[in-house]
Structure formats: structure tokens, C-alpha cells
Point group: D4
Chain length 216, copies 8
Amino acid sequence: TRRGVPEAILCDGKIPGEVATLATTAVETTGRALVTRADDEQIQAVRARLAKEHPDANVQVRERANILVAHAVGFSKPELDATVGVVSAGTSDAIPAGEAVTVAEEMGASTEEIHDVGVASLVRVLDEVETLRDADVLVVAAGREGALPTVIAGLVDTPVIGLPVSNGYGHAGQGKSALLGMLQSCTVLSAVNIDAGFMAGAQAGLIAQAIGSAKE
Amino acid sequence: TRRGVPEAILCDGKIPGEVATLATTAVETTGRALVTRADDEQIQAVRARLAKEHPDANVQVRERANILVAHAVGFSKPELDATVGVVSAGTSDAIPAGEAVTVAEEMGASTEEIHDVGVASLVRVLDEVETLRDADVLVVAAGREGALPTVIAGLVDTPVIGLPVSNGYGHAGQGKSALLGMLQSCTVLSAVNIDAGFMAGAQAGLIAQAIGSAKE
Amino acid sequence: TRRGVPEAILCDGKIPGEVATLATTAVETTGRALVTRADDEQIQAVRARLAKEHPDANVQVRERANILVAHAVGFSKPELDATVGVVSAGTSDAIPAGEAVTVAEEMGASTEEIHDVGVASLVRVLDEVETLRDADVLVVAAGREGALPTVIAGLVDTPVIGLPVSNGYGHAGQGKSALLGMLQSCTVLSAVNIDAGFMAGAQAGLIAQAIGSAKE
Amino acid sequence: TRRGVPEAILCDGKIPGEVATLATTAVETTGRALVTRADDEQIQAVRARLAKEHPDANVQVRERANILVAHAVGFSKPELDATVGVVSAGTSDAIPAGEAVTVAEEMGASTEEIHDVGVASLVRVLDEVETLRDADVLVVAAGREGALPTVIAGLVDTPVIGLPVSNGYGHAGQGKSALLGMLQSCTVLSAVNIDAGFMAGAQAGLIAQAIGSAKE
Amino acid sequence: TRRGVPEAILCDGKIPGEVATLATTAVETTGRALVTRADDEQIQAVRARLAKEHPDANVQVRERANILVAHAVGFSKPELDATVGVVSAGTSDAIPAGEAVTVAEEMGASTEEIHDVGVASLVRVLDEVETLRDADVLVVAAGREGALPTVIAGLVDTPVIGLPVSNGYGHAGQGKSALLGMLQSCTVLSAVNIDAGFMAGAQAGLIAQAIGSAKE
Amino acid sequence: TRRGVPEAILCDGKIPGEVATLATTAVETTGRALVTRADDEQIQAVRARLAKEHPDANVQVRERANILVAHAVGFSKPELDATVGVVSAGTSDAIPAGEAVTVAEEMGASTEEIHDVGVASLVRVLDEVETLRDADVLVVAAGREGALPTVIAGLVDTPVIGLPVSNGYGHAGQGKSALLGMLQSCTVLSAVNIDAGFMAGAQAGLIAQAIGSAKE
Amino acid sequence: TRRGVPEAILCDGKIPGEVATLATTAVETTGRALVTRADDEQIQAVRARLAKEHPDANVQVRERANILVAHAVGFSKPELDATVGVVSAGTSDAIPAGEAVTVAEEMGASTEEIHDVGVASLVRVLDEVETLRDADVLVVAAGREGALPTVIAGLVDTPVIGLPVSNGYGHAGQGKSALLGMLQSCTVLSAVNIDAGFMAGAQAGLIAQAIGSAKE
Amino acid sequence: TRRGVPEAILCDGKIPGEVATLATTAVETTGRALVTRADDEQIQAVRARLAKEHPDANVQVRERANILVAHAVGFSKPELDATVGVVSAGTSDAIPAGEAVTVAEEMGASTEEIHDVGVASLVRVLDEVETLRDADVLVVAAGREGALPTVIAGLVDTPVIGLPVSNGYGHAGQGKSALLGMLQSCTVLSAVNIDAGFMAGAQAGLIAQAIGSAKE
Ligand SMILES: Nc1ncnc2c1ncn2[C@@H]1O[C@H](COP(=O)(O)O)[C@@H](O)[C@H]1O
Ligand SMILES: Nc1ncnc2c1ncn2[C@@H]1O[C@H](COP(=O)(O)O)[C@@H](O)[C@H]1O
Ligand SMILES: Nc1ncnc2c1ncn2[C@@H]1O[C@H](COP(=O)(O)O)[C@@H](O)[C@H]1O
Ligand SMILES: Nc1ncnc2c1ncn2[C@@H]1O[C@H](COP(=O)(O)O)[C@@H](O)[C@H]1O
Ligand SMILES: [Mg+2]
Ligand SMILES: [Mg+2]
Ligand SMILES: [Mg+2]
Ligand SMILES: [Mg+2]
Ligand SMILES: [Mg+2]
Ligand SMILES: [Mg+2]
Ligand SMILES: [Mg+2]
Ligand SMILES: [Mg+2]
């Protein structure tokens, strides 16, 4: 791990066997494997290989986020006294939001997921204001026009990291408008690239680390 | 006038004398001159020429919007039983928002201006919900990330026309992010080009015309 | 429904089973399901599920538009005294134009479809002028250079919503040139994003609602 | 001259004295100077220098097109039995349209200018159909959405060269939408770059040359 | 046919049965079917259908260009006394170059194909100068940086139409750099969109028509 | 102040008198004025006005950053036990880096400025590693290719906010490449828009607030 | 060979049989075949054909780089007294980096491959400085933000050619940010297009040729 | 100097006094000042300051390239046995081409300037082939479509560095098309950014250094 950020295995363009080998090596050398953007076949390959070679490893799959985490026996995550809140609007945000949650947790932070919050129904946003304010740092995922982090950053004192999501079709679709809107936000926030849930979660994790250390 | 939309004289790149001549001709041939994007010098030139050649014409200047309207004696605008609401956030929206108001008025609509409304202070938006709902059609101007029309369109039944404004610097600044966000909006609206206040006001005017006629 | 606009289920990236479940839930909770961008397999899945669980629901498929609408027994659409005209040039406009028609109808508007109208054969446009003028609001779909809404908006008093369609290859193909041309139109119109037939129809529906209410 | 296309002196970024020197040399070596994009000061400098050094040269200025043409005594243009039609919508097309006319004339073609033709008033286009059909080749200038060449190419058998003009503000303004629309045109035409009136006129001139030669 | 340009059936996104039906109808109503961008399956479908329903029709396939042309018995193309030259560099230009040749031929022009000419081996270009000069109008296809039409237009008096081809990978690949280079060409030419071989051939055909008529 | 972030007066496009009025009002209503992107004339206007109306106010100008801060008598900034480090490479980073420093200080953070650090001389970066690690949060400004935040984020555990600066000419110049590189960074960081020093400093200030609160 | 650069057969979009035929012809006519971007099936086709028709040819496959090189009996590469260093960060650089190595070798240069060097772990870069300095010319591959060539060019006197690699997702992904960063580099280097390993290796080979000749 | 590349003072956005101070310091500390993009006023300021403080320094101005070089008494450039050829087409290439020449000379290389060479007149290119082949490395400047380096690289064995120049208006003007064309070149070359004459000259200088050293 660098900066407490776990190394991750990004499955894009790898065959199941390669992923399984990389994950097994990671478990053996670092005590942990964090596998992202994995399809069913890749997940099964990792599960099968670990079942055979490390039957006692703890394997968790975050289904809709296409993530698998394996911990070797005896591996224990760092502990961190700080909470990362991860806000998402709908099912199309599931993968990047799930990546952010998983990375923050693996860095030792507590996480709080706030679902089904979108600018189209402001009431839901206002209902969650207390939960939003209770987090130490927020990752706010949003697709299409990406207005949600702007709106939330106007309601809380918490640092907000905008996470643009690649939905939406047509001109500036696939997260482009969302990213640009976060860069132009009239409320204070910083942003990561489109679908960069791992990056957003890791940045939130670093901020949580700093806050957690300060509490000690 | 085409479709009830007044012809306008767009001052960009014209010398004061040309503008004055065009405005005078317009007053003489159509009873009205609508001069947009006029700087002080151009406005003075029109005023001076009209004072000399049509001293009895009624001349109104919408200062911060850089617009001048002149009516010949005896000219009367159409009358329309419908209201166009024009929402803006700050001083940088003044020119396009003012163009929208002026054109809608010249088409005969009543207008309601709602100022200082921005997503950075949601409370102000919520305070104005009743006024927003009372309009027959809304033009919502917004710069930077352009989230305002998206938020408002989630709160009203009224048709909303998004008007992106060319403020904001950096990547996708000068209204680009605002336009793209309106095209990707997760609430229902249609959009016009950046700073196209004239276009937004005219489209709102056409809708108001249709509503007004329906009332008859 | 928000603003009278029906919730729709966008099939992109969903497996048939998911779509069927979502549609069934929609029928049960709102009395209606509106399924868009559905391929044959997804349509069959919805049909099968509803046949089993709600055999008395009324199911309509708009074939070339890839849309399915289901109404529970006893569900009745709003009624609206206003007509939305939807203009299209050719077969490549079928999906977005069909989405616009369906949404407007589900909002209660009457619809008038005007097919095979393109700038390449102006005579056809001129032949339809009376029909175009009779509508209360027009959605005009166009691909490639997207000139059709500009031309039509010069011939009618009706509000026009430009709907760019993703055909055309090469530089600025897939609807981009069409969208940009509508934003730069020298006649008055507002626009929605590329292929955003649902958005265009809903915006037309909101305008029709306002006109219909005015008539009461 | 290459291919019968006269060399031109493009004034952008040159000081008046440089332009005057280049023009004088051109008159001396080729019998002709063709000076484009010249402001008043540059035109005066050329006039003054030629008045002094070649008082008998014939100097013509095409005012609104910012072009100066000088012919030495005894210089005579080629003669060509073919007509180039140049269509424009408004004053903002004056410079590129004027460049096209001048180059075509200097190549020996007859020219026919058709002004005030725009898609916003189709009637004007239809009124001119006979004139348009009489030309051997057409250059059609258009700004904003640039629909005019597409419309005209649907009405004539004549080859059409689209000439996009840099007016229009906002997204894809300054001729970009016009260019892209011409490249995506659903009627047959070829295009030149934005404001490339010289290029359009020269290409039309080459076609006129080929037609003129065929007549011999 | 409009302007002598044959209607074409563009196969993109059509199933073989649809193409076969459209082609058969075209043969029946216009005496000719011109089918472009056809894959093997689509070509077989058309062949089979025509063999059954119009066994005496003349069917020609231009293999590497993915084009099929069918003429009903008794159909005869127009005759035109002018030659369209079509220049291409390599196999990746085959489809658009072949489209240009076919359309020009169907419009009645003679065609001259000049293959394996590229800027990487200037000697080949220089070897072909006489052939290039003999054509009445040239279509020059080029991919990657698209320099070939610029170079050729500096060597001939013939009008040149640049046809950018979608090869080349990386930044500005897939024909974009080629198109932009043709628009910025320092020699005189006009351009069509990327891969728009049909458009280039039709524009060349219109010019050939004008030249052919002039010869009469 | 919202979220402890001071309101700022952005001078772009305002005349000196307007700026002076806004600053005076700010001092009167909030006890503080923060004036950014001010040229000499605007700074003089504010100084003069305050000297006259609030002679006892404390006025500080951050010369190379074009910033003026005025505190009314009795105004005191919040106090925060956390340090914001601001890294810059050269003189072209002075304005955005200075904005970041000023805002962070006005929010109560301690600041540490690290100058003349660039990827062209890695030794300087390595020399400063201890100072970089001592900060609680880092803002790293960089122009041209913008590699500096990526390099620094590989050397520290501290959260890094990338601040792209608008220098560099040619393709992707003016900060665009720097922004894109920060979004694509292979080390963990979040980014703000080009030249958005105010935004970067405010985001760093919010993180410092959270850390400072944790220490209490 | 042109300039000593071997002709290559680019497999993209070719069927295995075509590739095999082209490779066999190349072996027969030039003594060598260099096949790039070949998938397993294409490689097997070439191997099988050569095994049958030129069983004594020497065939080498550079597995992860998707390259096959075949030399006829008696073919001998040029010999060159100069070394091309090729630097890469990870597995996603394998194809372009391998292309660069292969081409340089086929031009006769010695090559030195330096793997697993990335800006995220500067220590590795610093460890390799001597090896980097020993090369006569360097090709440095990098994806994502593409900072590696900038960093290396600050540490050596050797000429550096930046080779952007198409990894990275989101805005400016797929090598775009890497390319732009190399063009904006604040240290001295020149660049080739994204994934253009063949081009980078050939340019390095030409420089090595010049250096090798100078040594003679 | 880093890598033998002289530090340069880029005048953009600096006032004359600042430039003069920076140049004087450079002369005092490194024995040399290299001032680029200097306007007349800035050049006069440097001249005046040096005349006063270092009257014996050798000051050379490269007029059309806006460059000033000053050498302190006793300063002597490195000596290098290699020639950099710099090719340019016209006056608009003067600044970047002049920068390339100056930097290469200051690094000790011999330089050979080849002017008035453009793809519009191939004969001139062919006339210079021997001179082009005699250089050890070539910098080829080109604006508009930027085809010149592609053409030259097909005629010589010498390494070619493409230098795009910011002329040309319209879509992809100001050097963009030229840059993209060099990146897509079908002959072997590497490129630098638009107008980056300093970068091109320095890269050529580094290659010349390597060649010069090899000769020793
Ligand atoms: N502020 C404005 N925004 C957009 N269009 C305008 C504006 N003002 C005037 N126009 C329109 O621009 C056209 C005037 O263009 P011109 O012929 O160049 O004077 C008319 O059709 C006006 O209706
Ligand atoms: N290869 C082609 N490139 C461009 N346009 C084509 C091509 N083939 C056919 N067309 C045109 O595309 C139109 C067919 O579009 P569609 O109505 O979608 O079948 C007709 O106007 C044809 O003339
Ligand atoms: N340098 C700056 N960069 C970005 N935003 C700023 C800057 N200075 C002030 N602002 C913000 O811009 C807004 C001022 O906009 P305005 O209402 O046009 O004066 C305020 O919300 C400020 O907090
Ligand atoms: N990997 C590669 N990247 C770039 N160019 C290549 C590559 N492989 C081969 N080429 C070049 O691409 C051309 C082959 O194009 P084609 O005529 O389509 O086969 C030849 O000039 C090769 O030298
Ligand atoms: Mg959203
Ligand atoms: Mg706003
Ligand atoms: Mg159309
Ligand atoms: Mg027009
Ligand atoms: Mg080529
Ligand atoms: Mg830097
Ligand atoms: Mg990298
Ligand atoms: Mg050139």
C-alpha cells in the first residue's frame, strides 16, 4: 500500500485467469486483494482459485459494484476514527459509488451510504441534510448534468468530492457534462475524473486519515 | 415582425452611426426599434438621432441589459393574457435575462422578474416557489455549472426554458458547462444557446401567445 | 408522475428480467408502465411477465420506436385539449419521434404525426404548412445537418422544439451537427439533446398542458 | 497565377507599409494586385503608394468586402464564358461573399450576386430559383446554422459550394455550426472552411474555367 | 433521381431482408438500385431476391467498395461527355473511392481510377500528372494526414474535391486530421465529409454534367 | 460567510468604482472584504474609498496575486490548528497560488508556501519532501503539462488538491493539458478548474477546518 | 525499405488469410516481414503459411506486443553502432513499447528495455538514471497523465521521444491527456501520436542511424 | 543550462523593465541571455539596460523572429560538428523557425536555413532535396494543413521534427490542423506543439549534440 491506499486490480481487458493469478499473488504478498470492474466470469475465476489455494481467506463481493475483496487469514485493516459519506442518486451510480465505499473502508474509515438522492426530488436531499452533515468528508456521485454535489456543497460544512458518473446520452453525455459542471460549480468542491470511484474513495480516505490522526 | 417576434438590431460590430440609422428606419417602418447589445456610445447615438428626427418617440433604455426600445407615437404593443417569468442569479446574468424580459414584453406578455436566486442558496429558491408556479412559462438564466433550471424544473409544473450565461472561467467556462448541463438535465426542460436571451424570450413569448390565445 | 410527466423505464444496459420487474412494479404502483429503448427480447420479457401477473392490463407496443406502454385496468390518462405535432423526415427518426409522440399522448395531449418531411424536398414541407400551423406546439426531429426545425419555424407561429437525431456519419455526425444547428438557428426555437425524444415530448406535453388549462 | 487563380495579399497582421510594398511589387511583376482583408488604413496606404508609383494603374475597392484590386495599364483579365452565382443572406456575409465574387471575376468568370436570401424567409429563396438555376456554379454563403446551401442544393442542378460565415455567438458560433452543417448536408454539395471566400471563389472559378473551355 | 444523382440505399443498420425489399422496389420504380455499405450477407440477400423477382436485371457488385448496382432490363444510364478522375492511396480508401466512382458512373460520367498514389512516394504522384490533368474533375481520397489532395491541387488546373478517409488511429485519427487538412489546404480545393464517397462522387458528377452540357 | 468560506469580490469586468462600493459594503456588513483579480486601478480605488470611509480598517494587498484583503477594526479571523501547504513552480502560478493562500488564511488556517518547485528540476522537489509532509493538506499549482501534483502525491500521505494554471501556448495550452493530466493522474488527488485558486484554497480550508476541529 | 524503415503489415481490419498472404509476399520480395497488431489467429495464419511455403524462414513472435517478424534465409539486418532505450511503466504499455523496440532492432540498432518505471514511484526512475543516460536516444512510453517522459527528459542529456499510450478512462482518457501533456512538456522532447510505437521506434531508429554513421 | 539547452526568457506578459532585469541577470550569471517573443519596446529596454550596465556585451537581434541574444565578454558557445536544417514556407513561419535556428546555434550546432519551400510549389521542394539531405537533422515548419514535413520526410533519410505554425483561420486554424496532420503523418517524423520553435530547435540541438559527440 502506498499512502494507505490499497493496490487494486483493474479487470478491464484482462482474461479471468490473469485476474485470478494477480489476486492470488496480492493475497499472498500483501494479505489483501482488491479487484475492481470485475464481471461474473472474472469473479468466479478469483473465487475458484482462492477457494483452492487459500480456502481460509475471507472473500467478499460487492455485487452491483463489480468489486471483490479478499483478506488473508490474519490480515486486518487499519482502524480510523472518521466517516466517509458516499451519496448516490440511482442504480447507474452503483459501480463508482461502490468503489468509493470499498476503498474508503479498506483504508479503515467508517462509511455511510446515502442512496436515492437526486436533484429531481429536492425533498429527499433536504431530508438527509443531518446525515450529510455528520460525515467527516463526502463523496457525491452524479451523472447527467451532475448538479447534486453543487447542491449538497451549499448545505453542509463538510468537504465534498464530486464524482461524475458516465450515464446520460447525446451531446456531453457519458459523464462529460457532470464532470464539467463540477469543475464550474458555484459552491466549493473538488472533483475526480468520470467514473473514478476508486480515486474519489481514496482521496476521501486520505482526508479521513488526516482527520482520524488529528483525533488521536 | 415575424410570428409576433420583433426584429432586433444586434449592435455587435456596428458603429454608432449605423445603429442610429437602422433604429431610425425601424421606428419609421415598423413603429418600433429594439436595439440589443448596445454600449453607451451606441445608445447615445440612437438617442440623439431619434431626439432630432422623432422627438416624440418613446425611448426606454434597460440599462444593465444594454437594450434600448423606441416606440413611435401611436405604436402599441400586442396585448397578451399570460405571464413570462424570468429568473436570474446575479449581475452577470443581467444582459441575457434583460433581453428575455424585453422581448417577451414587446410581444405583449406580462413579465415577472425573480432575481438573486441561485443553487448556492437553496432557501432563496424555495422561498420563491409560489411566484415561480404562478408564471405561465419560465426562462431560467444560469451561468457556471448551470444547475438552476434543473432544480427549478423539479419544483414546478410550468414549462422551463434554460438560458445558459457566459460567465465562469477555465475549462468549459463562458457558459459551455451551463449549456451542456441544461441539455443533460434530469428534469424536463428545453434550452437555447449561450447568452441567447433574445431567443429564450421570444420562445417564451410564442408559448405565452399560445396560452393567451387559448384563454380567449 | 412528476408534473404530469410519466416515469419511464429506460432499457439501456438492463437485462430483460430487470425490465420486466420494473415494469410490473410500475403498473402496480402507478397504474402505468412506460418502457423505452426496448429491444425485442426486453419487450417479450415484459409482455410475458405482465401476461402472467396482470393478464388484464392493456399493453401497447410502438414497434419502430422500441416503446411499450402498459395500463392497469381502471387506469385512465389525463385529458388535455391541445395537440402536439411531431414532424420527422425518415426512418432513422423513428425512435426519438416515437418517444415524443408516446409521452405527449400519455400526458393526455392529442398528437399529429407528420412524416417524410425533409429539407431535401421543400415541396413536401410547403404541402404540410396548414397541418403544421394547426398544432398547438411542434416537435421537429431532424438528423444530419438538422435544418428542418429552422425551416419550419420560419413558416409557423407555433412554438417549435428541435429534436436532433443521431444519424449521419463523419465529422459532427450522430446528431452533433443537428444539435448545434438548432442552437444556432436563425429562426426562433428551443432544443433538447440528441435523441432526447422523451424530453422533447415531455416539454411539448407541459406546453400543451398549459394551453389546455388556459382553454378551460 | 497558378491554375488561373490570382495570388492574393492577405492583410491580416501586416502593417500598411508592408501591404503597399507587396501590392506595388505584384502590380509590377504580374500586372495585378489583389489585396484582401484590408482595413481603411491599409487601403489608403496602397492607394497612396500606387498613386505615386503607378498613377495610371486602375484601382478598384470593393468597400464592404475589404478588397482592393489594382490592374496595371495594359493588363487584361482572362475571358471566360461561364457564370458564378454568389448567394448571401445579410451584411455579415459581405466579406467572404465579396471575396468569392472578386476572385471569380479576376479569373474571368461572369458573376451574379444574389443578396438577402435566407432560410428565415423561404419565399425569397423560391423567388430567386430561376436566377439560381441560370448560374453555371453557385457559391452559397451562410452563417449561424448554415442551412441555406442545403436548401438551395435541393432546388437546382447546378454544383453548389457551401461557404460558412463566422457570425453567430455561443456554442458552435462563429461559423462552426454552419461548416459542420454543410459537411452533414442531406443534399449534394462540397464545402470550404469558415470565411474562406477566396477559396470558394477560386474553386468556383476553376469549375467555371472547365465549363468555359468545354464551350469553346 | 434528384439532380441526376441516383437515390442510394445505405445499408448501415438495416437487416438483409429490408435491404432486399428496398432494392427490389427501387428497381421496379426507378429502373435501378444503388446499394452502398453492404456486407456479404446483405449483398447475397439482394442478389437472391432479384434473381427470384427480376431474373433478367443486370446486377454488378463492386467487391472491395461494398456496393451493388442493379439495372432493370431496358434501363439505360444518362450519357455524359466528361471524365471524373478518382485518386486513392491504398486499400483503406477502397470503400469511399469506390462509392465515388460508382455514383459518377451512374450519373453517366466516364471515370478514371488512379490507384496507389500517396504523398509518401512523390514519384508515383509525379508519374501520374498527365492522367490527372486529363480528367475534367478529380476526387482525391486520402486518410491519415490527408495531404494528397493538397499536393495534387498544386499540380493541375482541374477542380479537385478532397475526400477524407477514416483510417489512422490516435488523436485526430479516423479521418479527422485528413478532413481538417483539406479545409486548411494551401492549394485550392473543396471538401466533403469523412468517408462521404457518395457525396464526393455526386458533386463530381454534377460538375461533369455541367461540363458535358457545355460541350453539346 | 458560507461554510467558513469568505465571500469574495471577483473584479473581472467590474469598473473601479463598483469594486470600491462592493468592498466598502462588505467591510461594513461582514467586517471583511476579499477582493480578487484586481488590477492596479481597482486596488487604488478600493484603498482610496476605504481610506476615506473606514480609515482605521486594516488593508493588505498581496501584490503579485492581485488580491486585496480589508479587515474592519475589531474583525478577527477564525483560528484553526491546521496548516495548508501551497506549492508553486514559477511566477506564472502567482495569482492562483496567492488566491489559495489568502483564502486558506482568511478561513483561519496556517499556510506554508513552497516556491520554485517544478518537475524540470526534481532535486528541488525531493529537497522539500519534509516540508510537504508536514502540511495537513496541500494545494499544488502547475501549468503546462501539470505533472507536479502527480509527482508530489507519490511522495506524501497528505491529501493533495491539484490546481491547474493557465500558462502554456499551443494545443491544450492555457492550463487545459494541466487540468486533464490532474484528472488522469496515476497517483491519488482531486482537482479544481483552471486558475481556480480561490476554489482550491477554500477546499483546502474546509479540509483544514475538519482537521482542526478533530484536534480540539 | 524507405529510409531504412521496414515496411510493416498493420493487421487491423484484415482477415488472417490476407495477413498471411501479405507476409509471405514481403518475405519473398524484401527478405523480411514485419507484422503488427496481430491477434493469435492472425499470427497462427502467418506461421502456418510460412511453415508451408518458407519452412526455413526465421520467425519470431513478440508475444505481448502482438508482433511477428520473419526473416528469409540469408536476410541480414543492417548493423548500427547505437542504442535505442525504450522505457515503459506497465503492462498496458506493452504493445506500443514492443513495436518501438522491434522496429528499432530491425533498423539495426541495439535496444535496451527499461520496464516498470512510473512517476508514481520516483525511486525506480532515479535508480535507472545511469541506464537511461547510456542510451543514444530514448523512447518513453506513458499512459494516463503521461508525465514520465517529462520527468526523464529533466534527468538526461539524451534526446527523448514521448510515446503516449491509450490507457486511462474518463475525460481525456485513452492516451489523450498523455499526448497533450507531452506536447506541453516543460522539459525538451518531441512526441508521436497515441499508441504510435512503430513511429516512435522508427524515428528513434533514424536518429540512431545518424549517430551510428557519425561514429564510422 | 540544462542538457546544453540555454534558459530562455519568454517575454509574453512581461513588462519591458522586467525583461531587462531578467536579461541582465542572465548575462551576469550564465554569460548569456536568450530573449524570445520580444516586441520592439521590450528589445529596446534590454538593449538600453545592457548598454548601460554591460556596454561590452555582444547583443544580436534576430529581427523577424523577435529574438535577442546577448553574450557577455568572454562567453563562448559550445562547438558542435553537426548541422541543423530549418525549413520554412513563408513569412508567417518566421518567428518559430527563427527560434529553432537561434536555439540550435546557441547549443553550438551549425544551421542551414531553407526558405520559401511549400507544398503548393513542389518544384521548390525538389530543388532543395540535396540541401535537405545534407543536414544531420531537420526542423520543418508549416502552417495551414502542415503537409510539408510529411512530404520532406518521404524524400530524405534525415530525422525530421515537425513544427506546426499558428497561421490559417477558420476550423482547425491557428496551427491545429498542422499539428494534427504531423501526428497522423504517413511518413516518419516526431512533432512539437504549435509555434514551439524553441522546443523544436532544442530537440534538434540535442540530436545534433549526440551526432557531434559520436563524430569525436
Ligand atoms: N441579442 C440578440 N441575440 C440573438 N439574436 C439577436 C439579438 N439581437 C438581434 N438578434 C437577431 O439578429 C438578427 C440581426 O442580425 P443582422 O442582420 O446581422 O443585424 C435579427 O434577426 C435579430 O432578430
Ligand atoms: N454511402 C453513402 N454516403 C452518404 N449518403 C448515402 C450513402 N448511400 C446512400 N446515401 C444517401 O442516404 C440517404 C438514405 O438514407 P435513408 O433514408 O436512411 O435510407 C439517401 O438520400 C441516399 O442518397
Ligand atoms: N478568484 C475567484 N475565483 C473563483 N471564484 C471567485 C473568485 N473570487 C470570487 N469568487 C466567487 O465568485 C462569486 C462572485 O461573483 P459575482 O456575484 O459575479 O461577484 C462569489 O461567490 C465569490 O465567492
Ligand atoms: N503499428 C503500426 N503503427 C503505425 N503504422 C504502422 C504500424 N504497422 C504498420 N504501419 C504502417 O502502416 C502502413 C500499412 O498500411 P496499409 O497499407 O493499410 O497496410 C505502412 O506504411 C506501415 O509502415
Ligand atoms: Mg443526477
Ligand atoms: Mg448558477
Ligand atoms: Mg434532415
Ligand atoms: Mg443563415
Ligand atoms: Mg495519405
Ligand atoms: Mg509545471
Ligand atoms: Mg504513467
Ligand atoms: Mg504550408
